[in-house]
């Protein structure tokens, strides 16, 4: 059994009336507080620093997007919250979910938290479903994992959940197997399983990356709708800056295991300060830019996480770097509600203070 077991518990979400969803004006306190989270992996005597002091908070009803290049530590940082890292991982710092400290939890307590309070949806819906079990069996197993429901009651809940994720003809789907569904429908089932536990926090790690743009739009619409109805907090991880900008209240940009820029979405994208974020924005193809545009692109690679250099991790690739950057800049609110880690932020009109050129 794969995700079903991981994500399961049921606390009667569908029928129970929940407290009204917290609005995004910040009335409710944070449901998740991550403070100086660090994750290292030890391999052949080398220590890989995958997450290097990450701090953020998420409030109910709000969506935080974590963006950054491959290998920047996005998935590791959220897997740490789920207790899904291998034993070779060493976790430090703190992550409190609704007051419960997650770092250092024992296995038994993990099971209580995972599933009934946090649920996760991954990129590949095919691999998070068991190909040999029917949709219904997987969903019912997830539902009954913690809730003492009779089969028939659980089956009814399963149908309700499939309706919630707007899967057409849910009764029929219960008997079908994953391969009989399209990618989009499979992802809906995965979301239904995740929701079966009435999570307070839903983590979507590249949940729509493998889908068509048409299906992605449907799934995102669904997630927003469910979030508003249930007042969940959501962390969405994405490579796609435009997608993050469209759906997140707040955006956190990661580079080499650290947050390098963090602000309200509109604030961040209307006033990008960190050269790395700027580099990402310059690189994304846009529907509106003229064909055959060849923007200057920052070259190089993210640093080796087992041999991080002193100073700013972006230094070797940064077009605005100076000697000063050999001293590490810290993430701080240099402007109201806008935190970034950089000695030479790009200027307000969006241009870089240094010259831009392609580097080998």
């Amino acid at each position: 059994m794969r995700s079903g077991a991981r994500l399961a518990t049921m606390s009667g979400m569908l029928n129970a009336t929940r407290e009204p969803a917290a609005t995004s004006n910040g009335a409710a306190g944070p449901i998740l507080v991550v403070d100086d989270l660090r994750v290292t992996f030890s391999r052949h005597g080398r220590v890989v620093h995958a997450v290097n002091g990450l701090s953020y908070q998420v409030r109910p009803g709000r969506t935080l997007a974590i963006i950054g290049e491959s290998g920047s530590g996005k998935s590791v940082s959220v897997r740490a919250l789920m207790g899904l890292l291998p034993p070779s991982a060493h976790i430090e710092g703190s992550a409190r979910l609704d007051g419960t400290e997650l770092v250092g939890l024992d296995d038994k307590s993990w099971r209580a938290v995972r599933g009934c309070q946090i649920a996760m949806v991954f990129q590949d819906p095919a691999s998070s479903l068991n190909p040999t079990m029917s949709i219904g069996a997987q969903l019912i197993e997830a539902i009954r994992m913690h809730a003492p429901l009779k089969r028939r009651e659980a089956a009814q809940k399963a149908i309700d959940l499939l309706k919630l994720v707007r899967l057409p003809s849910p009764e029929k789907r219960l008997k079908q197997f994953p391969h009989q569904l399209s990618g989009g429908m499979r992802q809906r089932v995965v979301i239904a399983i995740a929701l079966s536990s009435d999570p307070k926090l839903l983590i979507a790690d590249e949940a729509t990356t493998a889908l068509d743009v048409t299906t992605q739009a449907q799934i995102m619409e669904l997630l927003v709708d469910i979030q508003e109805r249930l007042g969940m907090a959501v962390i969405m991880i994405s490579h796609d800056l435009s997608l993050a900008a469209c759906y997140a209240h707040e955006v956190l940009v990661m580079y080499a295991g650290k947050a390098v820029e963090h602000a309200e979405t509109r604030n961040l994208f209307s006033n990008v300060r960190m050269p790395y974020t700027k580099a990402l924005l310059d690189a994304i193809p846009q529907l509106s830019t003229p064909a055959h545009l060849q923007p200057a692109i920052v070259g190089g690679h993210p640093p080796d996480l087992s041999a991080l250099p002193e100073g700013c991790a972006f230094l070797p690739r940064c077009p605005s770097s100076t000697e000063q950057c050999r001293i590490e800049p810290h993430l701080a609110e240099h402007e109201p509600e806008h935190a970034y880690a950089c000695w030479h932020p790009v200027s307000r009109d969006g241009s870089c203070t240094g010259q831009k050129e392609e580097r080998p």
Binding site: E69, S70, P168, S182, G183, G184, M185, D212, V213, T214, T215, Q216, A217, Q218, M220, E221, H239, D240, L241, S242, L243, A245, C246, Y247, T265, R266, N267, L268, F269, S270, N271, A279, L280, L281, D282, A283, I284, P285, Q286, L287, S288, T289, P290, A291, H292, L293, Q294, P295, I297, V298, G299, H301, G350, E358, P360
Partner: protein
């Protein structure tokens, strides 16, 4: 330019005359590819209509972007063009010769001029070979180079794709990052001096910065060698960056094709409109966003496409006629064709 619908049959006969200075490099007519699905015991259970009557022309040095959802037939079209699979019917004229029905030996010769780059760079590179051998291989069959000349050419190619020869020529594919491996695959495709490269989701698995670099590389090669591309991707913004024209595929058919700027600014086919509306938009100057508008419903099965227009089950403009009659590809302006009974009016 006229908005008056003019039927073109077969599509794009309005092309400039053959054999003139504007002879198409590639001319595909009425291409059909179907796959028979079989159940247990090899019993025929259905026919997948993967590509149904597709026609288009590609000029030398021109890039045709091909977009469409998963399963719309983009890869099948590519495979039929490059003759990895023989199409069920139709013609594929490349440099004036029909490739369909050519002998294997002749096809091998043609492939020097028509190369393909796939999505997964590692899948297309032999893991046991060194980078230099991977790139040199297409040179073995097609040229009478000496070993030294080949080594020199390999270094030139590595340089061209932005990989330092001393550092990379002795590496094996698994010692490369995804972006580096894709560059090696591109160097290999460019090696025999092709005039057409077919890219099937060639940048889809790459990270933003690397993807942008590889897109720039494609553009540079195009300028340098007057390369033509069939650039297949489901990401519409990526396609726009490199294309002159774009063809929108829906369930094995061309819904719309024409100049990329024109189609993105004022699509005439409701499906093109829906695809464009599904893209999340961020204005990087102002931070203003436009949330996608979702197209309701699921794409129909290619095993049993709807009667009439194959888009009608999801189309907001569908009327009775759409179920009864298949729309014919119609020219709406110069090199811009649409297959729809009720095309959108340009804004």
């Amino acid at each position: 330019m006229t908005d008056q619908a003019v039927h073109v049959a077969p599509a794009e006969t309005a092309e400039p005359a053959r054999n003139g200075p504007h002879t198409p490099l590639l001319s595909v007519r009425n291409l059909v590819q179907e796959y028979v699905t079989r159940g247990p015991g090899g019993i025929k259970t259905g026919v997948v209509h993967a590509v149904s009557d597709v026609s288009f022309d590609l000029m030398p040095g021109e890039t045709l972007g091909i977009v469409g959802e998963t399963g719309s037939g983009k890869s099948t079209l590519a495979r039929a063009v490059i003759q990895v699979e023989t199409p069920k019917s139709g013609t594929v004229r490349f440099q004036g010769r029909d490739l369909v029905g050519m002998s294997k030996r002749e096809i091998t010769k043609v492939r020097a001029d028509m190369q393909m780059v796939y999505q997964d760079p590692f899948g297309s590179l032999n893991p046991r070979w060194r980078v230099a051998d991977v790139i040199a291989e297409p040179l073995l069959g097609h040229t009478s180079m000496t070993r030294e000349q080949r080594a020199e050419r390999v270094d030139e190619l590595l340089d061209l794709v932005g990989l330092r020869p001393e550092t990379y020529r002795h590496r094996r594919p698994l010692e490369l990052s995804g972006g580096q491996a894709q560059r090696v695959a591109i160097a290999r495709a460019v090696a025999p001096g092709p005039s057409l490269i077919i890219c099937d989701e060639a940048t889809s698995s790459l990270d933003v910065l690397i993807r942008a670099q590889v897109l720039n590389l494609f553009e540079k090669l195009r300028e340098e060698f007057n390369l033509a591309y069939m650039f297949i991707a489901h990401d519409l913004a990526t396609v726009k960056r490199v294309s002159d024209r774009v063809a929108v595929m829906h369930l094995g058919q061309l819904a719309e094709s024409g100049p990329v700027e024109q189609i993105y600014a004022a699509p005439r086919h409701p499906y093109t409109r829906a695809l464009l509306d599904s893209v999340p938009v961020l204005d990087t100057m102002t931070g203003v966003v436009k949330r996608p508008v979702a197209l309701p419903g699921e794409p129909p099965s290619p095993l049993n496409p709807p009667s009439g227009c194959r888009f009608r089950t999801r189309c907001p403009r569908a009327e009775d006629l759409c179920a009864q009659e298949e729309p014919v590809r119609t020219r709406v302006s110069d090199r811009h064709t649409v297959a729809c009974h009720f095309p959108l009016t340009p804004a």
